[in-house]
Symmetry: C2
Subunit: 461 residues, 2 copies
C-alpha cells in the first residue's frame, strides 16, 4: 500500500510541476491534505513509534530513563533517514521521588491506620523517613480562606481541597483555576507556619489516582513537604475532618533534589531545497512526570511532530524550507530545553518562520492557536477549508505553547489544539499510559500538523 | 450548589422579564447557554442516569431485559416530574442469540482445534447444534471478487475480510463503506451456493472483540448462518488460508427468530406554556445490541435527551412549546419504534417543529446536521456563536437520524453530531459499556442539545 501510494504521489507531484497552470492551487492543496491524512491514518507509523517510546517508561528530567529515551529518539530519527540529527546539550534539574510516599491517618478513632493515596509534588523536599511528619490537618478551600484561617495553620498540614471546576466547556480553564494551589500552595502555607501541604489532585476523573506536577518554594520561607492526594481520598479526608477536626496524619516522603545533570534536546530535520535557512519547527516536550508513561503528556506531541517529518519522507515530498523536529527536554520542571533552543534560535543565522507545539494530549484535532503576527494569522486562517480536511475546526489568535514561546525571533508561533475533555483524566498521573491513546485521534493530529507545515512550507509566511 | 444556582436562574429570568429591553437578546442567550452548560457539566445527573440504565444490561428488542429497562425509564421520567409520561405500544421483532456461538478450525494440520472469536449477526438463522456446519472457507475482499469467484463458493463458508478504511478523517464513511457486507453479505454468498458467512468485524479498534449488527436475507435465496469475527482472528484466518486453502471450520450458532412481541416507545414531556401544540422532540433509541451495555449506542442518546428536559426542570425554565423526549424502540433491527412514532406524529393535531436525534455516541460535541428546511437551517446557523458555548463548531445541512426521519410533517429534523473517532471501537460490541463513557463528553453533548432546544423553543422556527 505504502509503496504504491508513494509512487502515486511522486507521479502526482511531477504532474503538478508539469501542469501547474492547469490545476488550481486549491485543488492541489486539498489533494495534498488528503494524501497526508490518508498516509497518517492508515499507516499509523507515528502511533507505533509512540508505543515503542512509551515502553521505555517515564522520562523525568535528569533520570536515567530520560537519557535512555533520548538515545532511543536519536536512533529513531536516524532510522527515519532525516537529513541531520543532533542533540543539543542542556543542564536540567534532577529531582527524584524515591520509593517512599505515604500518608497514614494516625490519630482518628474510626480510621486510624488508613493509608491515603498520595504522591509527592515535583520539587518537594522529603521528610525524615523514620518518623515522618505527624500533624493535624486543616482543610482550606481558597486563598481567601487561607488568609482568614492563617492563625489556625501553625504546625498543621494544610489540605487544599479545591474541586476541579467542570463548569467550563473546555477543560484547560478549570486546570488554570487550580494550578496555583499546586505551584505556590506549600509556600503560602509555610508563610502561616504549616508543617506540610496536601493538595487535592487537579483531575477531571473520579478515581483515586494522585496527579502530580511541579511546585515551587519561596525564598525566605521554610520549605515544607508537599504531596497530591487522589480525589476520592480527598473527599474521604474532608468528610473525616468534619467529624474529627483533631485527626492527624503521618506524612513520609523520600523525594529530594540532586545537583543538575546533563541532558539534551533531540533535534532532527529535513533540509529545505530552496530556502534551507528558513526553518519551520514542530515539537513537543520529551520529558514527562514519573507516573505512567507520559503518553499524552507529551510523548504524543513529540511523536506527532516526528510523524510530520516522516510523512514528508513517506510521500517523497521535498520541502522548500527546512522542517525541524525538536524534542524539548524539561518542560515540566524548568523549561531548560525550551530556553536553550530559544537562545540557539536567537543567535543563529537561520530565520525561524514558525514553531508549532503539540502539548495538549493526543486527542481529536480542534484548532490552531496563532501567536503573533497578524499577517501570519490572516494567511493561516485563509487555509481553513484545507485544514478542515484534517479535522481542524478553527484558527484563532492566542497563546502557542511553553517551549516554543522562547523562540523570540520567530515570525509566528502556533499551538496545536486537540479536544480537551479527557486531558486531565490522564495529566501527570499513572493514568497517562499508551493504552489510553487512540490511534485515530493521535494520527489525525499528526496529519493536521503536517497539512499546516506543508502549507507554510509551500507558501511561506 | 444546585439550589443556589436554580434560585439564581429564577431571579435572572425574572429580571429578564422585567427588563427585557435593557438586556440584549444576545447577552440573554449567552447567559442561558452558560447556565445550561454549567448545570449539565457540574451536576452530571444525566451521566448518573446513564450509569443506572447501563446496570440493567443490554436492551435488545423483544428481550426480557429491554422490558425491564422500559419500566425503569417510565419510572425515571416520572421521578423527574415531567408533565406527562407514557408508553407507546409497538410490536417488535424478537431475535435471540442463545448460548452457543462457536467457530472452530477442524481440519488444518497446524491449527486444528483453534477456536475463533465470533458472534452471530442479528437476524441470522442458527445451525444444527450437534454437528454445526463444517465447510471450507473462501476469503472474499470485495463484491467484485465475489462475482469473479462465484463458481468457487459452493458449499463453502464465505469469509468477507474487508478492513476498516482508516483513511477517512471521520469514522462514519468507513463504516458506510463496509456495512453492506454485513447487511446483505449472507444473501449474496447464498446466491452463489455458500453454506455460511463470516464477516470481519466493522471495528476501528485493534482487538479481537466481534462487532455485531443487523443482517438481512433475500427472498427466494436459501438462508445461511452468518457471524462476525474479531479482527485479530480475521487476520489470523486470512494468514492461515494462505498456507492451507483447504482449511475447514465448524460453525455452531444457537440464534433464532421468534414471533414478534409487544414492546414500547417511552415518551415524556414538558408541556408548553404558550404553544402546547407545537412540539420539539429530542430522542435516541432505547434498544441496543446484546453485547456490552449499549452505553454509547444508544443509552447515551436517550439519557442526553432526558437530560435536556431535566435541565429545563432544574433551571426552572418553563418552555413556551412542548418539549418531548422520545426513547424509540427497535432502531437496531426494524425501526418499528421510529415508524410508530412517525405515524402518530402524522396523524396527531400537534405541529412538530423539530426532532433532534442523538445516536452517534457520547463523545465531545462537534456540530448539528439540519435536514429540511432551508429557513430553519439559516435560523439555526445564525445561533452559531451561542451554540459554540456548548462546544458546537458547525451547523451543516445533512441527514438527521434514522428514528426521527419518520416524522414526515416536522418542519426540520436535526442530528446531533459528536466526534466520531472512537465510535466504532465500541459500536455493537462488548466494548460498549458505561465505563467507556466520559462524563464531560456526555454532558457537554446534553448541554449542546439543551441550548439548541432552548433557542428553538424561545424563537420558534
Amino acid at each position: 500500500m505504502k509503496t504504491t501510494f508513494g509512487l502515486f504521489c511522486v507521479l502526482f507531484m511531477a504532474a503538478f510541476t508539469l501542469s501547474a497552470q492547469e490545476m488550481s492551487k486549491d485543488k492541489y492543496y486539498k489533494m495534498m491534505a488528503d494524501s497526508l491524512v490518508k498516509s497518517a491514518m492508515t499507516e499509523q507509523r507515528g502511533f507505533r513509534s509512540l508505543g515503542d517510546l512509551c515502553k521505555i517508561g517515564p522520562r523525568l528530567s535528569g533520570s536515567v530513563n530520560s537519557l535512555k529515551a533520548i538515545n532511543w529518539a536519536v536512533e529513531k530519527m536516524k532510522g527515519l533517514g532525516l537529513d541531520s540529527v543532533w542533540r543539543q546539550p542542556v543542564m536540567v534539574p534532577h529531582w527524584e521521588r524515591g520509593k517512599v510516599e505515604s500518608a497514614v491517618i494516625v490519630s482518628s478513632k474510626k480510621f486510624k491506620g488508613k493509608s491515603l493515596s498520595i504522591a509527592s509534588l515535583g520539587g518537594s523536599i522529603g521528610t525524615d523517613l523514620k518518623n515522618g511528619i505527624i500533624a493535624e490537618v486543616i482543610e482550606i478551600n481558597s486563598w481567601v480562606e487561607l488568609n482568614e484561617k492563617k492563625n489556625q495553620v501553625k504546625d498543621k498540614i494544610v489540605f487544599y481541597n479545591i474541586p476541579f471546576d467542570h463548569s467550563f466547556p473546555a477543560a484547560f480553564p478549570a486546570y488554570g483555576k487550580n494550578v496555583g494551589y499546586r505551584f505556590r500552595g506549600a509556600a503560602e502555607a509555610a508563610k502561616c507556619g504549616a508543617k506540610g501541604m496536601i493538595l487535592r489532585s487537579i483531575s477531571s476523573r473520579n478515581d483515586n489516582v494522585p496527579h502530580v506536577g511541579v511546585m515551587q518554594y519561596a525564598d525566605s520561607v521554610p520549605q515544607i513537604p508537599a504531596a497530591a492526594i487522589g480525589i476520592q481520598d480527598a473527599d474521604f479526608l474532608s468528610e473525616s475532618l468534619k467529624n474529627d477536626s483533631k485527626l492527624k496524619i503521618q506524612l513520609k516522603l523520600s523525594c529530594k533534589t540532586l545537583p543538575d545533570v546533563q541532558s539534551y534536546n533531540v533535534i532532527g530535520e529535513l533540509k529545505g531545497t530552496e530556502f534551507p535557512d528558513e526553518v519551520l519547527v514542530v515539537g513537543g516536550h520529551f520529558d514527562s512526570w514519573d507516573k505512567g508513561d507520559g503518553a499524552h503528556d507529551d510523548a504524543a506531541g513529540c511523536m506527532q511532530s516526528l510523524e510530520v517529518l516522516d510523512l514528508f519522507k513517506r510521500l517523497q515530498m521535498k520541502p522548500k524550507r527546512t522542517i525541524r523536529c525538536v524534542f524539548f527536554i524539561n518542560e515540566e520542571n524548568g523549561s531548560r530545553g525550551g530556553i536553550a533552543y530559544g537562545k540557539y534560535a536567537d543567535s543563529s543565522n537561520e530565520k525561524h518562520l514558525t514553531a508549532i507545539e503539540s502539548d495538549r494530549g493526543a486527542f481529536t484535532p480542534v484548532g490552531f492557536l496563532v501567536d503573533k503576527d497578524s499577517a501570519s494569522f490572516i494567511k493561516i486562517s485563509s487555509w481553513g477549508k484545507i485544514l478542515e480536511r484534517a479535522g481542524i475546526h478553527w484558527v484563532k489568535q492566542g497563546g502557542s505553547g511553553v517551549d516554543v514561546s522562547y523562540i523570540k525571533n520567530a515570525k509566528c508561533l502556533i499551538g496545536y489544539v486537540p479536544d480537551s475533555q479527557r486531558y486531565f483524566d490522564y495529566h501527570h498521573s499513572a493514568n497517562d499510559v499508551f493504552s489510553e491513546v487512540n490511534p485515530r485521534e493521535f494520527e489525525l493530529g499528526s496529519a493536521a500538523m503536517a497539512v499546516l507545515v506543508f502549507l507554510i512550507d509551500w507558501e511561506g509566511l
